[in-house]
Symmetry: C2
Amino acid sequence: MPVNSFEYYPMTWKPHISKSGIVPLYAEIAQSLEHDIRDGVIRPNDKLPPQRELADYLDVNLSTVARAFKLCTSKGLISGETGRGTFIASDVISNLPMLNESGLEHCINLGASHPPYKQNKYVALMLKQLTKKASIDSILEYSEVSGRLLHKRSGKKWLSEFGLNVSARNILITSGLQNSLAIILASLFQYGDKIATNAVIYPGIKNIAGNLGIQLIPVPYTGRTMDVKSLLQICKNDNIKGIYVIPDHHNPTTISMDVEERSAIADVVKKYNLICMEDGTYSFLSEQRNPPITSIIPEQSIYISTVSNSLSAGLRIAFLSMPPDYSEELINGNSNINVMAPPLEAEIVSQLIDSGIAYKIVEEKKQELNARNKIVEKYLSNYNVLGDSHSQFRWLLLPEKWTGKKFEQTAKVHGVQVFGCERFIVGSAVVKPAARLAISSPKSLELLERGLGTLKEILTE
Amino acid sequence: MPVNSFEYYPMTWKPHISKSGIVPLYAEIAQSLEHDIRDGVIRPNDKLPPQRELADYLDVNLSTVARAFKLCTSKGLISGETGRGTFIASDVISNLPMLNESGLEHCINLGASHPPYKQNKYVALMLKQLTKKASIDSILEYSEVSGRLLHKRSGKKWLSEFGLNVSARNILITSGLQNSLAIILASLFQYGDKIATNAVIYPGIKNIAGNLGIQLIPVPYTGRTMDVKSLLQICKNDNIKGIYVIPDHHNPTTISMDVEERSAIADVVKKYNLICMEDGTYSFLSEQRNPPITSIIPEQSIYISTVSNSLSAGLRIAFLSMPPDYSEELINGNSNINVMAPPLEAEIVSQLIDSGIAYKIVEEKKQELNARNKIVEKYLSNYNVLGDSHSQFRWLLLPEKWTGKKFEQTAKVHGVQVFGCERFIVGSAVVKPAARLAISSPKSLELLERGLGTLKEILTE
DNA sequence: AAATTTGTCTATTTACATTTC
DNA sequence: GGAAATGTAAATAGACAAATT
């Protein structure tokens, strides 16, 4: 029974429920929590009162509170750790899609990451050549769900560039990285399943996982990449079903895994029978390419190679290498989400690869990025900026007085858009303050210089 | 406690569980059930023993069985009705993607529904003209997530053809009907939510709903379309969150709703505060177009108009009209699944609409379908074949001695692929035997004639 | 190092609404 | 038309393991 004494024992959060009997108790608690999070009554990383305390206060059973918390967890609003407590997710507020740039027209864009666009001229040229062929009509017909064989052959060639040998039969053509993640999560995972990933990660996977009620579990990092010991422990305790990794030029930290790290991850995947998702989006940037994790454990790992960054953003095409055991489900998943990848784009990509122009585009992009990274060195050499001469974005480690969010806000006031680390944080993981600088997004080198100049001023203020 | 007497009281299904303690009881029961369904030990439409009887037999609590059943229900394997019992879904076995035609090369295809392809020449031509413009490079850049404004303006024009007036701001460009359904289900619905729809329906929604753990509830039909009384009752009892309808040329039955039926559905949507999904895929086939349901309740209904059937299968583009209250979630959903719709296709579609060629394509398709439907009359005039002179597919009501499945199998043996009604049935709804004939799929009129001739022979045998 | 705190999972109890007979 | 059968939902109870103190 609730007693007055509670009033003198302030809890960090008190739910407002009516016990009307119309809405179930657990739903009322969850709604109240969601409401207060969205209204900012409780803020990212705040600790909630223990479930038992809340249950006592509300005079309901522990499990009722637990059920309410579970609902909010599946929406990505909070995350709990046995023994420690329940915390508001770091990213509940900044959980906006990253390409939505309305209202930012007057900002220099170092936030959303665009690949260099100059090379689109080659794509346009290829399209022009394509239209001269008679066969274009038939490309517009329905094809096999997994993609046309010729296109998959090109995919095979493309994937071999990254150290992956797959038969065309095990390739699936999808509509880009994000689309591939949606397909994989929807078809191989269930609501409530858990996927391990870096403590800071590409936000697209957070968003789709949130939509599907799949939980991401952050693996702490050891300065470099995933801490394998922690990963092992998480697998042991948490009933992890999959893992999402970006071994080359990790988004957002730019770090690449060495051979040992890759094989350690592969061992864990094997040991705990996980489904591995290996994101090769930025592998084209690496000078010296280490073999992908998927090449060690092809029967348990899906390699995803989108061309949206390496060739052209407008080409919504990715190649997946499918483990035979999962290929039926993945093909069905593709059918359920896309019916088929856009065939015109697939044809263009195929021709770009077969003709070799794809590699020329990649080389030119790297040169462009090289020039831009020199400017980064010029302005920010006094700071710790992860990434190298080919990076499409850099990871600026901020002095301790900053938070990523504060830096993002300050920069925005000064007319520069960057993304603070909070946008990339999984759940309520604790990470050092940082911000991602999408150095290839500004339209010109001059704009980039101005943007970086502004950031430098902010940092030295 | 289990007693021997059970052995003399045979149940229609007995689970095999080990009670090892390693796997939870409810999971063991669910696995055993899933296993036996997939192995054909129990078959579509079979009735399972009551939960209480199973609980008794296994000596476990009622809720444990209920939980196991719930798991299987969310996978679309079974469906329960209070008071009646639990039944195996009609479609558990034939749940394959409908475009996967491998092994059917020698069949005449009246199964998977392809639109007429001849008009692709106009699309190819438009593409050729497009490539002459200088602006093609910029089309290949990232754009606003919801689509480019110019493209949305074309969408506005396109939707107005179907009696819908929306501002470009409320239009979302996605990658086709199936893709739109995936976006809507993933972003506006949660695992476990229920959506009402016809007892026989476009299988794509069944597949994506199954992937996402969203339940479809079949609404019985009254010879024509949805029985509104039943719908009201279902809403009252079942906590329905949404409804999926195809008011024009329903897939697979070809039936269109009249004005009264539409307004009755709209009333239910308003009364129970549902989210309505209105599929306008085949509206272009209707001679006299009734106003869409969405025009009555635009604040609660999403109209989906794909161009994959009306213009070209290769153009993976659909226009959605978004209720303002849901637009943020839908735009995010599009971002989470597609990032953006393929911009090249969007540009082509936009130009086709603006130039008026789109309407020419539609007219020609209707002429082609007209010719094909005459052949249907020629061969099957003695049978009850729903649909009219513009139908892209027809719904053949079979004599009572047939089941859809049996007819499908028999036809296949004779070299003709059709889809029996079981492929379209939701859950364990009971429907009259029928089969869908995709009359626009065979490459030539001759093939169509041969296919229909074979079907006639089978029917008269 | 042991006791306590804390979240999570499974199973149980209770209540209820509909269908069937 | 009322009792029995039946599925569904919510709230409760108990056990467990990790993290903290």
